[in-house]
């Protein structure tokens, strides 16, 4: 994005940017939490728990908030979902636990489960309060490939169960999309690393960063050296649009820009375009669109090839984009990207009788999904570029389990990845103990 004068830092002051990137949902005060906790009906076989991919006993943790038993509440949460802190911030609760809340039927206003979960877990991270104890050492070694939510969840559960774990991580920091992908205003104050530190503090987890599978090591090496392998490699590659002009300066993969944004010490130094077009309809598209606007872009257009119902971004996320000043366009596919050296605009095919639409742009973000980097993993059975696993997250290969976005059924949610890692760890444990 160098060279185009329209793409520059400092469109807003540092103070304005700090304000724009403050906590999206500020934490509850004790009074707010107690009042909100009182709204929970303590349902039997609670629909919210059923709706939670990790099966957190939500009425139980809320009951403990009511009695000021925050440590017990956090234990209830984190024993099912070790990333309960991040999930409290990033889960699309409006389509998970909170959508299932019976208060919706009663008064169309669910209990604020996400915010209560954050209230219960924040003190644990703030005080590094270790809630878990490792089982007697088994002497078994497990390799975890990928330092994202699936891998970290798997590693933590294995460590708790008494196994020794080595994480092979391609980045320089652990956390995966929590560290490099989540919108900054959802995980302020470096929370992703706080959570990583907490997870590692259980002990028994060795971390090896900056190592690429298929480049620095191979799956077969791990199968030889370790008693079991878990693959949580995610979807590392961005999909291409496949249209003319895609390689112009100013056409950027959204996840790469978001990663840069997340790693920037001072966001006011980030170059941002004046007119931005985002192509895609998922969370990444929303995240890059909203963050661009909050960095000071004057016009941000998000263009999706189908309608709002088909967007994988939730209704809440779509509304967040709109209230942040992003213009949403539906039923429009990019036909070609315009420009000579730099991008100047995008031309769209539109399912309308009046023909195509043209949007001016000096930056075009591609956010039409990611795919797995299958380098070194061809031996595993897969379908549409994702590993096939059974209900225990076991792959077709002996000693190899997998989870997160890289498996069939992976759905781009931290909470689902955590559950995959947890299930795999339990299965690995049973297998290693011959049970």
């Amino acid at each position: 994005m160098a060279g185009n004068a329209e793409i520059r830092a400092g469109r807003l002051s540092k103070a304005e940017i700090d304000d724009n990137f403050a906590d999206l949902h500020p934490p509850l005060t004790r009074s707010e939490a107690l009042i909100e906790a009182d709204r929970c009906y303590f349902c039997y076989d609670a629909p919210c728990t059923t709706a939670c991919p990790t099966g957190i006993d939500i009425p139980a943790f809320i009951q403990k908030i009511r009695s000021d038993n925050l440590r017990g509440s956090a234990r209830t949460i984190l024993s099912e979902n070790i990333m309960g802190g991040m999930c409290a911030r990033v889960c699309p609760t409006e389509v998970l636990c909170e959508e299932a809340c019976v208060r919706n039927t009663h008064e169309e206003k669910p209990v604020e489960i996400g915010l209560l979960q954050r209230y219960a877990t924040d003190p644990v991270f703030e005080h590094s309060d270790q809630l878990f104890q490792r089982a007697v050492a088994t002497g078994k070694k497990v390799a975890v490939v990928g330092g994202g939510p699936a891998g970290l969840s798997c590693a933590h559960r294995l460590a708790v169960l008494g196994h020794n774990v080595t994480i092979f991580n391609r980045d320089s920091k652990l956390g995966g999309l929590n560290e490099y992908g989540i919108a900054a205003y959802k995980a302020i104050d470096d929370f992703a690393q706080t959570e990583v530190d907490y997870i590692l503090s259980i002990g028994g987890i060795e971390v090896r960063n900056n190592l690429m599978l298929g480049v620095n090591f191979g799956l077969e090496d791990l199968r030889q050296e370790y008693d079991a392998v878990f693959l949580g490699v995610g979807l590392a590659l961005s999909n291409n649009l496949g249209v003319e002009g895609e390689d112009l300066d100013g056409v950027v993969n959204a996840i790469e820009y978001i990663a840069k944004l997340r790693q920037a010490a001072d966001k006011s130094t980030l170059p941002v375009g004046r007119k931005i077009v985002v192509i895609g309809g998922g969370m990444t598209a929303i995240d890059v669109a909203v963050q661009s606007k909050r960095l000071g872009a004057e016009e941000v257009h998000m263009v999706y090839r189908r309608g709002p119902e088909q967007m994988s971004a939730s209704v809440f996320e779509q509304a967040l984009a709109q209230t942040s000043g992003v213009t949403l366009h539906h039923w429009a596919s990019p036909a070609r990207i315009l420009g000579d050296d730099f991008v100047t605009g995008v031309e769209f095919d539109v399912d309308r009788s009046d023909g195509g639409v043209r949007l001016d742009a000096d930056v075009v973000f591609k956010a039409i999904g990611q795919r797995m980097d299958g380098n070194g993993l061809a031996s595993l059975a897969s379908e549409s570029g994702r590993f096939i696993v059974d209900e225990h997250q076991k792959t077709s290969s002996d000693k190899v389990w997998a989870g997160g976005d890289c498996v069939v059924g992976g759905n781009d949610l931290t909470v689902s990845a955590v559950q995959h890692g947890k299930i795999a760890a339990i299965s690995i444990d049973r297998t290693l103990r011959n049970r």
């Binding site: 107690l34 009042i35 009906y41 039997y44 076989d45 019976v102 208060r103 039927t105 009663h106």
Partner: protein, 432 residues
């Protein structure tokens, strides 16, 4: 709007709501504010002998709170007035002069010797107050000195002191009863026998609110030590209602006028007391929690209710008393079953789990593989637990079986009444 004017023992007040003898009626300043807000009367904070008692200068109150800090129960260790008697008498005289249409009753607590009563009551009556209330109820502090509840727990003392009070005065005497007794009927009977014109109840209940979870001492304390207090507020209303009804329906005390006290917070609470036999009511805690302005809902709500029911205040008094009886006279042939309105059900499952865990396993969790809560009539004993815990108003109702067979017992529904007194299982049954 229904007229709320009340004559209790001949004492007039514009409505049946009096402030009970307590901190809100400690001095003219408070009472003037109360009357300005619309209260019908006050029972002035209890007077005693000079020199006045001394109160602690630390916590006198503490509360049982809901999570959003709504006061459910209230505890106090304040004693009777700690101001010189003459100060109170001067203020009472002035207040009665300034508010001639309001009731002003003097609460008194004196040692158990006739001379004290003969000496103080005429002095107090001279201020122009409308009546006396004898404080035989306070359970803390003064009871250690042989007064308050220490008197109220011994019917003979109640009768004796009531007789002294009647002898020393010419205005109505109300005896205020303590709930800290096995049965409230003997104390009420003793008051009646002593010549009391009425009883008022309940005074507060012996209580310790909780411990301090840091210091593991009782809470609250005065310099590290605490003492039991008197419990009141919404939480005590059911206890008070039972005692009021017991006096209203017992043949030994029936007809004795009652001033009802205990947790009255809104007009419905007043309806409870009035329908169960009280002729007027006294309020303290609700005013101490929200201020005197609650009188507006009390009078307005009661008046609207009377309009809706097309009743006068006098007609409401005691209306529900005939419905109160002993367990042995309940109809054991009467059968109800719970019915869950599926359109209102929000699927919380609370009815199921409480019935399953603690009652009669009479509510489903799943029907044909789908989450659904239905009453199983062949198990339902009609206990009302599900109705009691359901968070949705009117979602679960009790319905009488009027014919056919009770699927639980297999017995035909009988229209005949069957009381325990005549039940075949009762070895002591009376046969005609």
């Amino acid at each position: 709007m229904a007229d709320l004017k009340t004559k209790f023992l001949g004492i007039s007040s514009p409505n049946p709501f009096w402030l009970a003898s307590a901190p809100p009626t400690d001095k003219a300043y408070n009472v003037n504010r109360a009357f300005a807000a619309g209260w019908g009367g006050v029972v002035w904070k209890t007077l005693g002998e000079d020199p006045p008692i001394v109160n602690v200068s630390g916590p006198r109150y503490s509360t049982l709170l809901s999570n959003d800090r709504r006061v459910i129960g209230f505890n106090n260790i304040e004693l009777i007035t700690d101001r010189p008697l003459q100060t109170n008498l001067d203020e009472m005289r002035q207040v009665k002069k300034d508010w001639p249409d309001r009731a002003v009753v003097a609460s008194v607590m004196l040692p158990m010797n006739e001379e004290s009563w003969a000496k103080y009551l005429p002095m107090i009556e001279d201020t122009g107050v409308d009546g006396f209330e004898l404080n035989f109820g306070c359970p803390h502090g003064m009871s250690e000195r042989g007064m308050g509840a220490a008197v109220g727990q011994v019917p003979e003392y109640i009768q004796m002191a009531t007789e002294w009070a009647k002898k020393a005065s010419s205005i109505p005497v109300i005896v205020k009863l303590t709930p800290n007794v096995a049965s409230v009927v003997p104390p009420a009977k003793a008051a009646l026998d002593g010549g009391a014109d009425a009883v008022s109840l309940i005074n507060t209940i012996n209580s310790i609110m909780r411990v301090d979870y840091d210091s593991l001492t009782m809470y609250p304390t005065t310099d590290g030590m605490g003492t039991h207090g008197g419990y009141c507020g919404e939480a005590v209303k059911p206890i008070a209602l039972n005692m009021v009804a017991e006096i209203a329906r017992n043949k030994e005390t029936r007809g004795l006028p009652i001033s009802g006290i205990g947790g009255i917070s809104d007009w419905r609470d007043a309806v409870d007391f009035l329908a169960l036999g009280a002729s007027n009511v006294q309020v303290c805690t609700a005013a101490m929690v929200y201020g005197f302005r609650i009188i507006d809902d009390l009078t307005d709500g009661l008046s609207s209710f009377l309009d809706d029911k097309q009743l006068t205040l006098e007609q409401l008094v005691g209306k529900a008393v005939p419905s109160v009886t002993d367990w042995q006279y309940l109809n054991l042939n009467y059968v109800e079953k719970a019915v869950i309105n599926q359109d209102l059900c929000i699927q919380c499952g609370r009815c199921h789990v409480v019935c399953e865990d603690t009652s009669h396993q009479a509510i489903t969790h799943t029907v044909n593989g789908v989450r659904r809560f239905e009453v199983i009539d062949s198990e339902c004993v009609g206990c009302n637990l599900c109705v009691s815990v359901c968070p949705v108003d009117s979602c679960i109702t009790m319905t009488q079986l009027t014919g056919g067979v009770d699927p639980r017992t297999g017995r035909a529904i009988s229209k005949e009444r069957l009381q325990w007194t005549a039940h075949p299982n009762n070895p002591m049954r009376k046969t005609d």
